[in-house]
Amino acid sequence: MSTNREFFYRKLHSLLGVIPVGAFLIVHLTVNYFAVRGPEAYNQASHFMENLPFRYFLEITLIFLPLIFHAVYGLYIAFQAKHNTSTYSYFRNWMFRLQRITGVIVLIFVAWHVWETRIAAALGAEVNFDMMAEIVSNPFALILYIIGITATTFHFANGLWSFAITWGITVSPRSQQIATYATMAIFVALTFVGIRSILAFVG
């Protein structure tokens, strides 16, 4: 058995990005979409999530620990690359670069978002429609949210594409091409869900 765990860490990083972090993202965006149905529906849905049994256990094992590992190891990976899109301006090379740029944006965005919502809740604030409406009533914050959501959905969708390669699911160039189309469709769909939800808190 090797003492060097790089292979394991890399594979784990890829897996955790999809399960559970990516799965949580989909649940989160879906619950957010209740905002489109109005404050009452949203409050009911977020209240349901808040009152799930084993809440702290679920939060720690399905969200915080995997997210922290993915973020810390991801930063290490991101800063290992020496970008060369000016010489090799191929589509995939740009996606490689964007994956690393959005990863860093998402890390900053999520840190801010968790501070404002989850940590605020732990300190006694109530998480509801009004809380979000208050946050995005500042146009600057709304713009940051839209950038953050788009970066997150891109990082997840494009991450699915490389997940399929990292685990050896898509091997042939044709399957990788189709995976590009499928993951970009996922990016567009999730971005729509995310932005429509955040706009529901405005006005």
Partner: protein
């Protein structure tokens, strides 16, 4: 004698530790020249564009038919072999630089040792040496041989490593060339007898297969059109399965 001249801008450095600098050259045009013959002209008459006598530009070359990989350099921004870079097809001034992903020994000469070390690391050969005649090995189907021939075109030229954003001084990544050789030798009926061993060299230690970030520049840059990214993805599948086998499976890995 023709009045036409060829303008070259060459990034030079005296040795591994000195600072690089640019030097311009103007050499007389002849028909059907390539970058190598232009460099030979500079060696014959080492005078730069200002008319000053300088040292001859150092470069590496061997086969002159794009099968040895020795003469790779960056020509007008892209890494390629200088023997097949024809002057008539290049925009002037022609800019020549060494592939500085590798240690630059002098001018355009680089040290590709890391690639040869990688081939040793992954055992990119069919081990048949022994103390007695092992007899003939199993045969290979013709269709498979034709496919394997494409992978065997790798000439260790280093262009894929130069193009890869994950091969740099901050990373230990082995690079696409040696990875694809693992697929080639694992596909060989006799070479495949050491399949698990080769896969494990890619899973152990730093800079193995998992350092690939899927920028897929390598497959675009490869002068031999080797399906490097398909090799990498295929090895991802095999190493995933191998790791399951190692953890959940039996007590032998072969």
């Amino acid at each position: 004698m023709s009045e036409k001249v060829i303008e070259l801008v060459i990034k030079r450095q005296a040795d591994q530790n000195s600072e690089p600098f640019e030097e311009k050259f103007k050499i007389p045009y002849r028909t059907n020249m390539n970058v190598i013959s232009a460099l030979m002209e500079i060696r014959r008459n080492p005078v730069n564009a200002n008319g000053e006598t300088t040292t001859a530009v150092a470069w590496d070359a061997s086969c002159l038919e794009e099968v040895c990989g020795a003469c790779s350099m960056i020509i007008n921004g892209k890494p390629r072999q200088s023997c097949t870079a024809l002057i008539d097809q290049l925009e002037q001034p022609i800019k020549l630089e060494p592939m500085n992903t590798f240690p630059v020994l002098r001018d355009l000469t680089i040290d590709r040792s890391r690639m040869f070390d990688s081939l040793k690391r992954v055992k990119a050969w069919v081990p048949i040496d022994g103390t007695y005649d092992l007899g003939p090995g199993p045969r290979m189907p013709e269709a498979k041989r034709q496919w394997a021939y494409e992978l065997s075109k790798c000439m260790t030229c280093g262009v894929c490593l130069e193009a890869c954003p994950n091969v740099n001084s901050k990373s230990e990544f082995i690079g696409p060339a040696a990875l694809s050789q693992v697929r080639l030798f694992n596909a060989h009926p006799t070479g495949g007898m050491h399949k698990a061993e080769r896969l494990e060299t890619l899973m152990d230690g730093e800079g193995g297969l998992s350092n690939c970030g899927n920028s897929q520049n390598c497959v675009q840059a490869c002068p031999k059109g080797i399906p490097l990214t398909t090799s990498i993805a295929a090895l991802n599948r095999e190493t995933s399965l191998q790791s399951f086998k190692n953890f959940f499976g039996t007590d032998h890995t072969a």
